[in-house]
């Protein structure tokens, strides 16, 4: 059992100011803001928070309607505070009876780092979903479910759905190193066969998930469908491997999004030479048709701004924690 996340949060240390005092800029807009701005606002309490691996956290959030409605493969968008971004995250699991959904995220930038400062007892400001098309689940036969790094989070509900639909599930999950690996126990429960890999060989099979897949294919194992989710280079390598064998491969994409309802087009990708919107046409596509090179470039569009945002955040956090950045 992984212990509850007990790191002191900045708001615990600066109670008079609330979270990140120096990030709360006053401006005319916030002066004019009325309490009703969010309409008849719902709140979304975090009822459980856990650290799954280094910088990887899991929240259970109360959202009864989404918990009831969501299907594997779908995602939500959340906001943590009024000045915050709209953050898309896959729904890793849901408990319709308890009315909760499970979200898993890695702290990679300012917004996810800020999200990571929240824990049980806190609430999300906004939660929108479920979004995107659900995974097409039926009895295919043998399905290889491959998750790399944080991509194991979106693969897990799909593996579970495939398992429940009567498929034989071959699961391959991997991370850079042992302490970044998540959901091994959960995956083992829904997989008929589980191979765990680490890039550095610190745990399980030494090598990439694509190496493990290659092994399995070389052994002559019959696979009817591959679902691969993870960093773009990983998905690209897996797709190159399966393309030669004419083995259908579904990938789930995570481009930059803003509204995530089809309105802005930030998430456009080229699939089979056509521009598609990941938020309303996806998030899953035939991996053999996706232009991964373009996707990688589009994901990097705001690197300078993300760096600046993170520095401002860390500076504010450092100032609050006693001046040490």
């Amino acid at each position: 059992m992984i212990p509850l996340f007990l790191k002191p949060r900045p708001q615990d240390l600066c109670p008079q100011n609330g979270p990140y005092p120096s990030l709360r800029f006053k401006n005319e807009e916030s002066e004019l803001r009325s309490p009703s701005e969010k309409g008849d606002a719902e709140v979304f309490p975090i009822v459980e928070s856990r650290v799954l691996a280094t910088a990887v956290k899991q929240f259970k959030v109360t959202a009864p309607e989404i918990a009831r409605k969501r299907k594997p493969g779908q995602f939500i968008v959340l906001r943590t505070h009024e000045e915050g971004e709209r953050i898309p995250l896959t729904i890793a699991d849901a408990d319709p009876e308890a009315g909760t959904i499970t979200l898993i995220f890695q702290e990679v930038g300012k917004s996810t780092a800020h999200l990571g400062t929240l824990s049980s007892g806190d609430s999300l400001l906004d939660l929108i979903g479920p979004l995107g098309h659900p995974t097409h689940i039926e009895k295919f036969g043998t399905v290889a479910c491959i998750g790399g790094g944080i991509g194991i989070a979106p693969v897990y509900p799909i593996a579970r759905g495939m398992h429940d639909a009567g498929n034989r599930v071959l699961a391959i999950i991997g991370a850079r190193t042992k302490n970044l690996l998540i959901l091994e126990e959960e995956m083992s429960k829904v997989a008929d066969f589980l191979r765990v890999c680490t890039d550095d060989g610190s745990y399980g099979y030494p090598g990439f998930v694509s190496d493990a897949l290659q092994d399995i294919l070389d052994q002559g194992t019959q696979i009817d469908l591959v679902v691969a989710i993870g960093p773009v280079p990983m998905m690209r390598v897996v797709c190159n491997l399966t393309r030669n064998r004419n083995l259908k491969t579904i990938v789930s994409l995570n481009p930059i999004m803003v509204d995530a309802t089809g309105m802005c087009g930030a998430c456009r990708v080229s699939v089979g030479g056509r521009t598609r919107f990941v938020c309303v046409d996806g998030p899953e596509f035939d991996g053999h048709e996706v232009n991964f090179a373009e996707l990688v470039k589009r994901q990097r569009a705001y690197l300078p701004q993300e760096k600046k945002s993170m520095e401002t955040f860390q500076h504010a956090q450092g100032a609050c924690l006693g001046g040490k950045p």
């Binding site: 509204d259 802005c264 087009g265």
Partner: protein, 470 residues
């Protein structure tokens, strides 16, 4: 009682201008451009109105505001009365006073316009609404006794807000479902702060809530609930005013390069997500030095004027026809010109050029000439062979219109749509192919104006009321 001035004297009064921020200063800030009339200017302008017995202006107002009456009240110093008169027919006067194309509607019909300049109806509307917001107290409008009927309004843009405002006064229980985290639709995500301050939209939304409308944000209908599920959950009627929420691209090579935005994305980042205040707000926006905006409508002008405020050195409007055909309001074009926006007319982008990192650095264009008028009555642009040329740009904003968002239509099988995916609705009533379900605004007509969406909302509200009363 103030009397209008003598005919001679009155005819000598020119149409009053609003004071506004100086162009060079305002191109560096997001504050609203015009300051609006003060009471003296408003009364002077109001005194120009002839108080026609058969006012032509009212006929061309999509929501049939009693224009002579509210202007008369301004002249009588009864500014709050004027605002209430406006609100009888128009739930969003402060918005319409700013963004309506009055020059094509009420003011176009004004008798004074035949010889000289029409009465500045829009500016007077804006004045009265602003005065009420600043000085008036909330007055609960007369409401019919509760009907016991529930109406779901999908979308909180101009159409949805109008339907909600009308039906709540008729005694129905109204819930608005908004997909984004903030209510207001295009008024919040699309139209920039310098043209429509968000505090004004918020005041209108607050007003509706005070009157009793329930607003649920973060609700993507078609996903969290389908229209059928809403009806099954006890709503007696539904209005779909979801807007034209799907950006159109040119389908030319290079459109997926970094630094190429749809106008929807560019404006949503800046307006809804407040990216112009980055890093105070977390959402970033690319700041180009040389920005090309493709298209010639109001959204193109809004995008170009946002780009210049975000620090661009050169901003070009690239439009394939000539200045005469620009669909944007004259006032917006004029403001853009004043702020230093450059216009490339009769120019068609054919390809966007990108560097190794996938960022746009240039644009290949072709010169056009105008041929015979097409179906829209505008002269068709025809490419001139051999006229290709290149423009250096590091940001491109595609503002050529929007299509129909598929989320509701694809989950409501018995809702009929046309070949472009827009919902088919009766132009008089907004009734769709589905019983009890009405629609209006851009999701029916394609990209149009705030006031036309409000007009459609008004008609649909009347039809829904009739349907619920049967």
């Amino acid at each position: 009682m103030a009397e209008p001035p003598e005919k001679k004297k009155r005819e000598a009064i020119p149409r009053q201008k609003m004071l506004e921020q100086e162009a060079r200063a305002r191109a560096k800030n997001f504050d609203e451009v015009p300051f609006g009339y003060n009471p003296d200017l408003a009364k002077l302008e109001a005194s120009r109105c002839l108080q026609c017995k058969k006012p032509a202006c009212v006929k061309d107002c999509p929501v049939s505001i009693d224009i002579p009456s509210f202007i008369w009240m301004i002249l009588q110093n009864d500014f709050l009365g004027a605002a209430r008169k406006l609100k009888e027919m128009n739930s969003l006067p402060a918005v319409c006073g700013r963004v309506c194309p009055q020059e094509d509607q009420c003011e176009k019909m004004c008798v004074l316009g035949k010889k000289g300049e029409p009465v500045a109806i829009g500016r007077l509307e804006r004045f009265a609404a602003d005065y009420e917001r600043k000085h008036g107290e909330f007055v609960m409008p007369p409401k019919a006794s509760p009907s016991g009927k529930k109406v779901a309004v999908v979308g909180s843009g101009p159409a949805g807000l109008t339907v909600a405002g009308d039906l709540i006064k008729k005694g129905h229980q109204v819930t608005i479902f908004e997909a984004l985290h903030k209510a207001g639709g295009v008024l919040v995500y699309g139209i920039p702060e310098f043209r429509l301050p968000k505090a004004i939209v918020q005041a209108e939304v607050d007003y509706l809530q005070n009157v009793g409308v329930e607003i649920k944000t973060n609700q993507v209908i078609g996903q969290i609930s389908t229209v059928d599920e809403l009806m099954a959950a006890g709503y007696d009627a539904a209005f779909l005013g979801t807007g034209a929420g799907l950006p159109t691209f040119m389908n030319i090579p290079g459109e997926n390069l970094n630094g190429v935005y749809s106008a929807n994305e560019y404006l949503t980042r800046s307006n809804l997500m407040k990216a112009y205040l980055f890093p105070q707000y977390d959402t970033p926006i690319a700041q180009g030095k040389k920005v090309a905006v493709l298209g010639g409508g109001n959204v193109a002008m809004d995008s170009a004027r946002t780009a210049i405020r975000l620090g661009a050195e050169d901003v070009y409007i690239v439009y394939r026809r000539s200045k005469k055909e620009l669909p944007a309001r004259i006032e917006e074009v004029h403001h853009a010109e004043e702020e230093g926006i450059q216009f490339h007319f009769l120019t068609l982008p054919v390809q966007l050029l990108g560097n190794d990192e996938g960022w746009v650095y240039g644009m290949e264009c072709q010169k056009m000439e105008l041929g015979e008028p097409d179906q829209s009555g505008r002269r068709r642009p025809i490419p001139i062979p051999g006229s290709e040329f290149k423009i250096d740009v590091d940001l491109v904003i595609v503002a050529i219109g929007t299509g129909a968002n598929p989320l509701i239509q694809s989950t409501t099988p018995d809702l009929k749509t046309n070949k472009w995916g827009y919902i088919i609705a009766d132009p008089e009533t907004g009734a769709t192919s589905k019983k009890g379900v009405y629609a209006g605004g851009d999701i029916v007509t394609g990209s149009a104006t705030v006031i036309l969406a409000m007009g459609a909302g008004r008609q649909a509200a009347d039809a829904i009321h009739k349907y619920l009363s049967e």
